[in-house]
């Protein structure tokens, strides 16, 4: 991969987020090894992969919490790689982190207000809060309750609602299914799909639960050891044999299978 790859779909013009050859390190460990992907406006794009594939690192690098070593993150006509997180939120990209990460001692409503921290239009914020409440009525009911006292599913709803309060163009959703019951996962993903269609929020969705992710997504990428190893329309990915093996958890010896198999072996 080199810089030439950049020109591939610039002309399409509808990519709201384009990532080119991104490399990030955790100390000496290279967590992203040249990741390129693009997210088109209005789509739900999913990034699948196992633990440690680099999905969360990718999200953190986009939202500015981690600085990339190399590569570009193109959004709204400029490169936002290495920007401060507050600038990234201002530019319209909001990160809904893995494991909810609500503010436990603040009330539900204060959590939502914090989502709108970078905004300065009280009227718009108030109407967006009503919008969030219309998608998640339970949050309205619990608005004065400390967020730490909510259940896991409610906290996930709050985290998504808090992200919406920034009125994002692109939402980075990191493992929204983590630790939730299958029924709740179904509910949350239905709402994600609705938010995408009704509120026109483009989503970059990172998931280990490939089945639910591919059900809502338009396009998907598969990440492995810091690289994109496969991409395609969600329907095609779903039909692909490799993916079926992947989300059934069966590992066959593919390109570098032996090494991978050994790694799995050690943590199982």
């Amino acid at each position: 991969m080199n810089v030439m790859a950049k020109d591939k779909d610039v002309k399409a013009g509808e990519a709201v987020l384009r990532i080119v050859n991104l490399e990030s390190y955790y100390g000496p460990i290279m967590a992203l090894r040249g990741v390129s992907l693009s997210v088109r406006e209005g789509q739900i794009v999913t990034v699948l992969g196992a633990n440690g594939a680099g999905k969360t690192t990718l999200m953190k690098t986009i939202s500015g919490v981690m600085d990339p070593e190399k590569g570009q993150i193109l959004h709204g006509g400029r490169d936002i790689a290495g920007s401060e997180p507050s600038d990234v939120v201002n530019a319209g990209i909001v990160h809904v982190p893995e494991g909810r990460e609500v503010f436990p001692l603040l009330t539900v409503e204060e959590n939502l207000d914090m989502g709108a921290y970078t905004r300065h239009d009280p009227a718009g914020e108030a109407s967006d809060k009503e919008m969030v409440f219309s998608y998640f009525p339970i949050l309205k009911e619990r608005r004065a309750q400390a967020a730490g006292t909510l259940s896991g599913g409610q906290q996930q709803m709050l985290a998504i609602g808090r992200g919406l309060m920034a009125r994002p163009k692109v939402m980075l959703l990191d493992e929204p299914s983590l630790g939730l019951s299958p029924l709740l996962v179904k509910d949350i993903f239905a709402i994600i799909k609705r938010l995408n269609r009704e509120q026109n929020v483009t989503m970059l969705l990172v998931e280990q639960n490939a089945k639910v992710a591919l059900d809502v997504a338009d396009y998907g990428y598969v990440m492995e050891l810091g690289r994109i190893v496969m991409e395609g329309e969600a329907e095609k990915l779903k039909a692909s044999k490799d993916i079926q093996e992947f989300y059934l958890g069966v590992q066959e010896e593919t390109q570098r299978g032996q090494k991978r198999w050994k790694q799995k072996k050690t943590w199982r």
């Binding site: 939202s63 500015g64 919490v65 401060e84 997180p85 507050s86 990234v88 939120v89 201002n90 909001v94 990160h95 809904v96 982190p97 990460e101 609500v102 503010f103 436990p104 001692l105 603040l106 204060e110 959590n111 207000d113 914090m114 989502g115 921290y117 970078t118 400390a146 730490g148 006292t149 808090r162 920034a166």
Partner: protein
């Protein structure tokens, strides 16, 4: 009939007098403890220079208002001193503390101890090492109420603490920056994700702690004299913060008041040598039986 009753009344007055003077001291401990807790919550480091910041703030005010220095009016000197210490606190974080990011907490703690020494010697160099008293418009005045004699300085301490507490309550619950300070201390990473400028918020917390220290210093200096070692009071305030619960702002204030009220009673009823250890004995008991402090925020990590 008359005499025992008078004696009883005398006793009540006596106790009240002790309570009020203890309360006044306790408010000062409480204000310093608030500074400890604010910085601890925001940065997870203990600022052992908090007491010395209190002393320094008092000296800045003294330098601005006392007739042998600048000689400004007290009411002009106070806001200027508070502003100076606020800026100093902000810069301290911006220039020094922020560079310690990623270092162990022990390193930060030792750094703040060193900062305390710097404050002490800077104050000694600028204003001298002898005790001086702050010239306040209410010095030496007192309030008489049903046989109770209260120094106006003590009343001022209590009143100022009440006003500050209400102000802080409003600030932390009703302003966006105040809620953001809470948010950043509860979940720093999530605060980053929401676009809260966490580093600037932390510097502002240091500014706030500096301002609070100055108010405590002014109140302390107006009750007696002040010299560059007055900052050692911070140790007692730290004990107060731990007694109240290191993560809790109301706890800090409560801890300060408990320690403050305890002292005069200990001095009155316990032998001279032992009365000094009373606050630390309480600290010991609290740590053994309620290690998170009286008003701990318990459900911090409930998953």
């Amino acid at each position: 009939m008359g005499r025992p009753r008078e004696k009883w009344e005398e006793r009540v007055l006596d106790v009240l007098q002790l309570v009020v003077s203890g309360l006044a001291n306790g408010c000062i401990y409480g204000l310093i403890a608030l500074g400890f807790v604010l910085i601890y919550k925001a940065t997870e480091a203990v600022n052992f220079a908090q007491g010395d910041m209190m002393m320094f703030g008092a000296f800045v005010t003294l330098g601005l208002t006392n007739s042998n220095y600048v000689g400004l009016s007290f009411w002009i000197a106070v806001p200027i001193a508070i502003a100076i210490m606020g800026v100093l606190g902000y810069l301290l974080d911006l220039v020094v503390i922020r560079r310690m990011f990623g270092q162990s907490q022990v390193a930060v703690v030792i750094l703040t101890i060193a900062l305390g020494f710097i404050f002490r010697f800077a104050a000694g160099t600028i204003w001298g090492h002898e005790p001086q008293s702050l010239e306040t418009p209410y010095a030496g005045m007192d309030v008489r109420f049903e046989g109770l004699v209260l120094g106006l300085d003590e009343v001022a301490v209590i009143a100022a603490t009440i006003v500050l507490t209400l102000g802080f309550y409003f600030y932390f619950n009703n302003t966006r920056l105040g809620v953001a300070m809470q948010a950043a201390s509860q979940n720093q990473l999530a605060a980053y994700y929401m676009g809260i400028p966490v580093k600037r918020v932390q510097s502002l917390v240091w500014a706030l702690a500096g301002m609070m220290a100055t108010v405590a210093g002014i109140l302390y200096a107006s009750k007696g004299s002040i010299d560059p070692t007055a900052g050692l009071l911070g140790i007692k305030a730290f004990a107060a913060a731990v007694i109240g619960g290191m993560g809790s702002l109301p706890g800090a204030l409560l801890g300060g008041i408990v320690v403050g009220i305890m002292e005069p009673f200990a001095a009155r009823y316990i032998a001279a040598g032992y009365s000094q250890i009373a606050p630390y004995l309480l600290l010991f008991l609290v740590l053994v039986f309620r290690p998170h402090g009286i008003l701990a925020q318990v459900h911090r990590k409930k998953v």
